[in-house]
Every structure is written in structure tokens, then in C-alpha cells.
């Protein structure tokens, strides 16, 4: 059972209050006087609006959690890898970092910038579409691991949201200095075999024998 946040509790409390008012109105069918109108304003206006706001806040937060991403079966192995304390994949190491915690999928895959948040949520809707209306939902896991790819190459700028390329600790690494332009233009990926390793053990670009060992 997932943890109930304040937004979730507020959703349930406001929805219950509104439901009690509406059920009372439907059963008793009182004459429409000023008091009944006021009660209905709370039952159909104030409490439902508070419920909608709280459930949206809860939903927005919930959609950033790893367990949410892993609730689609095609992502279950990715989730299991991150949850595995023995795993050395980039994703797992970031998942063990308290700065990322349960939101590590979202923090690494979110778009950044002014419209980053809504764009990330819209892209998430594409996933829902592909899963429930497209064919991902019926795809066997083994096939999904081979076929489903990120929709665009992973940008190094996402790594550099946290790993600033301007600090001495970054610039003191010889490879970083040598590849600076290639890193900025995404010609070389931070998460690649020659550099920091693949993000997930199921990466399609890694050699087949390595993939088979996983």
C-alpha cells in the first residue's frame, strides 16, 4: 500500500464531505430554499473543487515516483534493477542517492527549462496512450526490453542539471576537457560504454552478449 500524503487525505476528506451533502440531498429531496442552495454550493462547488485540486496535486506527485513508472509491466525490470542494492547500473546508483530517492526516474528523464514540467507531463501522456491504446500493454516483457526505446537520444544536459560542467571537479577530468564540445553537442553520451556506463542494464546499444548476461 502506498503512503498516503496530505494531498491524498485532503482529497478523501473533501470528497466524503461533498458526497454526504449530495447523498443527503438525493435521499431527502428537500425544498430548494436558501439553506439548501448554500449546502449544494458546498456539495457541488467548494468541496469538489478542493477535491480536484488535492487529487491533482497528489496525481502530479505520484507520477514522479519510481513505483508509478514500474507499475506498467514493460518497466518492471527497470524498476527491479533500480531497487536491487547489488546493481551497479547508473540508474540504480542514482536511485540509491537520497537526492533522487523514489523520484529518480522522473529527475533523470524530465525535461528542464521553463516549459519542462508540462512538457514532461505531456510526454508521460504519450506513454499512457502507447500502453493502453497502442500495443505496449499487450507486449511480452522480453519483447518490450528489446523493442521499446527512449523517444529521443538522452541529452547530456539532463545529467548536467546536477553534474555541473563548470566546477573544477568536472574540468579536472582529462576526458571531460578533451570531449567538452562533443558533450555539449551530444555527440558523446555521458551514459555510454566508454564513459560512465549505460543507464539501464537493458540498453539496446550495448553488445548482445552483455545484454544476454543480464
Amino acid at each position: 500500500m502506498h503512503e498516503l500524503s496530505l494531498a491524498a487525505i485532503l482529497t478523501l476528506v473533501c470528497a466524503t464531505a461533498a458526497a454526504l451533502i449530495l447523498i443527503h440531498y438525493l435521499i431527502r429531496r428537500p425544498k430548494l430554499d436558501a439553506r439548501v442552495r448554500m449546502r449544494l454550493l458546498f456539495g457541488l462547488g467548494v468541496f469538489p473543487m478542493a477535491t480536484a485540486a488535492a487529487s491533482t496535486a497528489y496525481g502530479m506527485h505520484r507520477t514522479t515516483e519510481r513505483s508509478f513508472c514500474g507499475s506498467c509491466h514493460v518497466m518492471s525490470k527497470h524498476e527491479a534493477d533500480v531497487d536491487d542494492p547489488e546493481s551497479t547500473s547508473l540508474a540504480s546508483r542514482h536511485g540509491r542517492n537520497k537526492m533522487f530517492g523514489a523520484a529518480n526516474c522522473y529527475i533523470c528523464h524530465a525535461d528542464y527549462g521553463m516549459l519542462g514540467y508540462p512538457l514532461t507531463k505531456l510526454n508521460g501522456m504519450k506513454h499512457v496512450y502507447h500502453y493502453y491504446i497502442g500495443h505496449y500493454g499487450k507486449m511480452p516483457l522480453e519483447q518490450a526490453l528489446k523493442e521499446i526505446r527512449v523517444n529521443k537520444p538522452y541529452p547530456n544536459s539532463n545529467c548536467m542539471q546536477c553534474h555541473s560542467g563548470e566546477l573544477d571537479s568536472f574540468e579536472n577530468v582529462r576526458e571531460h576537457r578533451a570531449l567538452q564540445q562533443d558533450l555539449l553537442t551530444n555527440k558523446v553520451a555521458c551514459a555510454s560504454a566508454g564513459c560512465h556506463g549505460y543507464s539501464h542494464p537493458f540498453n539496446k546499444d550495448q553488445p548482445a552478449e552483455e545484454h544476454a548476461q543480464r
Binding site: T11, A15, G59, R62, H127
Partner: protein, 90 residues
């Protein structure tokens, strides 16, 4: 404007309010669904369909109240109570 007033005059206030209340209950249940069972489809429904239903229910409620007020104004005013002769005034 005239057409809107005619619509309000014919609006079945009591029945519409009952439909709005039922629609509101459905909306509330769907909003809670995303919290109680937070899987992708349920969360998406909780943040979209349920709010559309809730919005419709509220618009229906607002129209019903406006219609009730308009209908009350259109009703012919009740005649003033008759003055009785033995009121005790001298």
C-alpha cells in the same frame, strides 16, 4: 439574452439538480480512484474525466439556481393579505 431567459423559465430545476448531484457523486468517486488505486489510467482519469464531470455538475447547479431565481421572479406576485376589520385598532 431573451432565449437564455426562456431556457431558464423552462429549466426543470429540481430534476436538473438531482442529475447534477448524481454526476457530482460520479466525479468525486473518480477523483478518489486515482488516490485509492494510483495506477496510470486511474490517475489520468482522476485528473481529467472526473474534473470534466465535476465541472459539468457545477455548471448545471449554477444554471439551476439561476433558473430557480428567474422562475421565482416570473411568478405572479401573491396578493397582499386582506386587512381584517376587527384588528382592534380604534
Amino acid at each position: 439574452m431573451n432565449r437564455f431567459l426562456k431556457l431558464l423559465a423552462k429549466w426543470p430545476t429540481e430534476k436538473a439538480l438531482r442529475v447534477c448531484a448524481a454526476l457530482g457523486l460520479v466525479a468525486l468517486a473518480l477523483m478518489c480512484l486515482g488516490v485509492v488505486d494510483p495506477r496510470p489510467l486511474q490517475v489520468v482519469i482522476s485528473m481529467s474525466v472526473s474534473q470534466a464531470f465535476g465541472g459539468l455538475a457545477f455548471i448545471g447547479f449554477a444554471l439551476s439556481i439561476a433558473a430557480d431565481v428567474a422562475q421565482a421572479r416570473m411568478r405572479p406576485a401573491a396578493p397582499p393579505p386582506e386587512q381584517s376589520g376587527d384588528s382592534g385598532a380604534s
